[in-house]
Assembly symmetry: C2
Homo-oligomer: 575 residues x 2
């Protein structure tokens, strides 16, 4: 197994064996520990000292289902702290199948330069001049690349937003059908990729050099049991295939936790028009796909293909977070417009969450009316054109707030919250505030413990138990992101037996014993590295706070505020 | 003596005796200690929790010469930390003569509201509706106000930049001739004033209620001796009246410390075209004034009136820092254009330093060519028009850097350096990095100790002695800013006898003994309060650093970088 170090200053590409200290790591564990070790915490995120690391999860490339997650790590230009941004598609499996544990992009090409990094079926990597492709949108880019290199590749790229070095720029990667619709959205890592002068990774699929398993039989047995459990679970086996993540719209809105019109309300009166049910009906009626395999080795098929009235493709996949950020958050009940905005963000290379929230902040500041989806589309188009306003929007909600001297900006460490208002689900307040990633729902999703409809037992308006729940979830997710398992496939580990299966697979890959203590220890190790980096970058406890709006403005309809004390916040990671 | 508390939310105006804890304080000492006590460090600088405090220096209103300095204090929207911005003119004397120790502006008017605070000759204050004046430029505003209220007032106001809440907005105040050309420029306090809904303070001049002196005879004796020393000094007695602060251009350029073209060079090849000598000649030839009394009780007359070819007024006073920021820093050798830019900044209500540096960063990022003074003028005009780019520029150099993803941004804590490159005068590196105010030349000006031409004995390229020099200067200046003495009138305290005169005056005002230990103790107390506030706001040692460019890019012609270590920086305030 090897690291591929690509120096964009010298154009030198170096392959090295994975050093012993990184053995047993992949995904987020690898990127975060390595960033903390190799990147000066105070460096310019868009300068040559930053590194951009692509690392398949530790279990990517194995026979386990849904191990399709790639971690992308760097110092974030959005938060100024460490960042791991996580994405599906096929690239993680492709890299792992070539025996590549990480691609580490270092240095910086000259400003006018632009390259592809092409990795062929033997794992050989080469930089290819891509100057003519600079500023190209992602759908056009992958079409050109497919024509040139065939369709047996995973393409991971930036759009104009990344080329323009904007802080809300995503890294897009192709899905099973070769469309650049899967996003490592958060943290502006597209700008880091753009700053390196790297337009795309082109990775040949179907390699045969995956790391051998220490005990293939044990692994396969556990993997089979695991897949069975995922299939048997109602959420991953029935709900997600049918409605996708959009199934959450109705529930989260019903409990008044759906941040609406820049989080002025917790319930969107038009939620039914943008719900998972409505989306599924609309897609079916028009002949699109409600069930679609987006990522390698996926058995859940939560993806979909949203089509217009003529049955023509608009976007894949329309997800809960985007339906919220481009829907309720901006007061927009037009599902077709949401789909169009989703497509535009993928095409331009923008995080849909940050971009929707940035639009919401601009609307809240009076720049445009809430609900004006035409204006929202025009605003996003401005990003691609690189207008003055487009650049502001593309730099995310905090930049927009600064521009309009407007302080209702729902961000932590510069990164926006996601589709769960922390006033109505207090556990999410803890995760948003304390995650080293900035506000991030995937870093410690404690919605299930809080919402009765999901079997939650915590009082979602009270502080009791929330810090513990968030701490546990954050430690747990640090490991899930390290092994590269899809979030939704966690249903397979809902029972003690399910967890045992996971431990068994890790051990059966590495040949080292692995149990519950190792799981916990690994999660803590990753979080400690991340917090260590952030401290060195100048973060303090003051950065582990929500913006005032959440403490001061009661959220209708329940009219609650965040009640987690600063001391409680600071106790989350007293380890 | 009393505080005037003006609540812009309720419109309540409350007069209260100065509490004992603030006895003996004025100016920066008062504003900083009070801000630290009364303003939540994590508040939104543009929200109702911030307070804007106007405090005459402790010796303002006494017979001592050049005690014309007003301190304006608040949490800064530019730095996110505590800020004291200091300005001359007549307002400090006017407030002190009315027996007003501080005007404390609290709360926040509704967005559409706009008020004047008018203080009449009996010291009575009233809020006057000023809605029709919102967005008015400062020269037009003071003309209207003079027509309405006569010319026996000191007017302290914001221009469009402050109304627009931009982070580089200044607070302008009238000079002896009633022109709004004196600026509390740094830290964006104009935005704080704008956010309160306060367009102007209109303070009647010539009040008779100044705090009585405990020992008038002793005071007058010391004040007379002090004035004599200031007159006798060559710099304050001859150089400043003749050339103003612009006399520095030739010397600082000669020693290669004149930051040129966004600090890419330390020497501007056209410096002679914008030097103090050239300026004085030009003004004389055209019939302007090279010597002019700008501030109350001034005996130095460093001010000037710069006129155009027809002898018509362009601006007063053209100062060294502006000649640099709008000259060398943007590669502009056209003195008339510099004067025009100075006027525009005063008229729009913008800090000339931050604005010039913001233009320099934009030019460095390729937005316009260095030296294009027409483009610079157009850029500043855009601020007043409130265009998208105008708002970015008006938010200062860091906002411009973010906008262009350009990291050559010479700021500390978000505030730009001034006209002394820290690579060629290492002591200024310490002051810029460690001052709680952000990069600020007046917070600890150690140019004299570093430059041989000024009698300096330190090696300006070496670290030896620089921390001590800066520490001493910063403690000293905290007291000078507290008593309200003009920076240039410090020539009167160059000798031990001069210092004794100052101690004697402070004691003769308060009736309490005052000596060297008290001076040191007061300086430390002020700095501690400021640093305490910043820590609570989330600042760490990492914020006491210069941007990388100063550590990494050797500055021609001497090709040195900043050599002060992080440990040395952190030792500055280990008290």
């Amino acid at each position: 197994m090897r690291f591929l170090r690509v120096n964009m200053s010298t154009k030198n590409i170096h392959s090295e064996d994975v050093p012993q200290e990184y053995a047993g790591l992949g995904g987020r564990g690898l990127t975060s520990i390595m960033i903390n070790k190799e990147v000066p915490a105070t460096c310019n995120p868009l300068g040559p000292e930053n590194k951009l690391i692509f690392a398949p999860g530790y279990l990517s490339g194995t026979p386990l289902i849904n191990t399709s997650r790639l971690s992308v790590g760097a110092k974030s230009p959005l938060t100024g702290g460490i960042k791991e941004s996580n994405v599906g598609g096929t690239v993680s499996s492709s890299l792992a199948s070539l025996g590549i544990t990480a691609v580490i992009v270092e240095g910086q090409a000259a400003k006018e330069e632009c390259y592809f990094l092409k990795i062929d079926k033997s794992g050989q990597a080469v930089l290819v001049d891509a100057a003519p492709y600079k500023s190209m949108r992602t759908y056009a880019l992958v079409e050109k690349l497919a024509a040139e290199y065939g369709d047996k590749t995973s393409i991971t790229c930036v759009g104009p937003a990344g080329d323009l070095l904007l802080s809300a720029a995503s890294i897009q990667t192709t899905d099973n059908d070769g469309r650049p619709c899967r996003a490592a959205g958060r943290g502006g890592l597209g700008a880091v990729m753009g700053s390196k002068g790297l337009k795309a990774l082109i990775v040949t699929r179907g390699g045969k050099a995956a790391e051998p398993l220490a005990d293939p039989e044990v692994f396969k047995g556990a993997a089979k049991a695991y897949a069975k459990a995922v299939k048997a679970d109602e959420f991953s086996g029935v709900v997600l295939p049918e409605f996708g993540t959009a199934s959450l719209v109705e529930t989260i809105n019903a409990v008044g936790a759906f941040p609406t019109r820049n989080a002025r309300e917790g319930r969107f009166e038009h939620a039914a028009k943008i719900s998972g049910e409505t989306m599924a009906e609309t897609i079916k009626k028009r002949g699109g796909k409600t069930t679609h395999k987006g990522c390698a080795q996926c058995i859940i098929d939560c993806s979909n293909e949203y089509v217009d009235q003529h049955g023509d493709y608009i976007t894949a996949s329309l997800e809960y977070e985007t339906i919220w950020s481009m829907g309720g958050m901006i007061g927009n009940a037009n599902l077709d417009a949401i789909a169009r905005l989703d497509f535009l963000c993928d095409d331009i290379g923008l995080d849909t969450i940050s971009t929707g929230v940035a639009i919401a902040v601009a609307m809240d500041a009076g720049y445009k009316e809430f609900g004006d989806s035409k204006a929202a589309i025009e605003m996003v188009e401005e990003v691609a054109r690189g207008t003055q306003f487009g650049k502001i929007l593309g730099n995310g909600p905090a930049a927009v707030g600064k521009h309009f001297s407007h302080d209702r900006v729902p961000v932590v460490k510069g990164q926006s919250i996601a589709a769960y208002d922390p006033r109505a689900i207090q556990g999410m307040a803890v995760t948003y505030a304390t995650s080293p990633m900035g506000a991030d729902h995937t870093a410690g999703w404690v919605v299930d413990q809080n919402v009765e409809e999901f079997g939650g037992t915590l009082d979602r308006f009270s502080a009791a138990g929330q810090v513990e729940a968030s701490r546990h979830a954050q430690i747990h997710m640090a490991v899930v992101d390290t092994i590269g398992l899809c979030d939704f496939a966690q249903t397979g580990m809902a029972t003690p037996e399910g967890m045992q299966n996971v431990y068994q697979m890790i051990a059966a890959k590495s040949g080292q014993a692995f149990g519950e203590d190792d799981w916990q220890g690994l999660g803590l190790k990753v979080l400690k590295a991340e917090r260590d980096f952030n401290r060195k970058a100048g973060f303090t406890n003051q950065d582990d706070r929500l913006p005032k709006m959440f403490y001061e403005e009661p959220l209708p309809p329940h009219n609650k505020v965040v009640v987690i004390s600063d001391n409680d916040m600071d106790s989350t990671f007293e380890f």
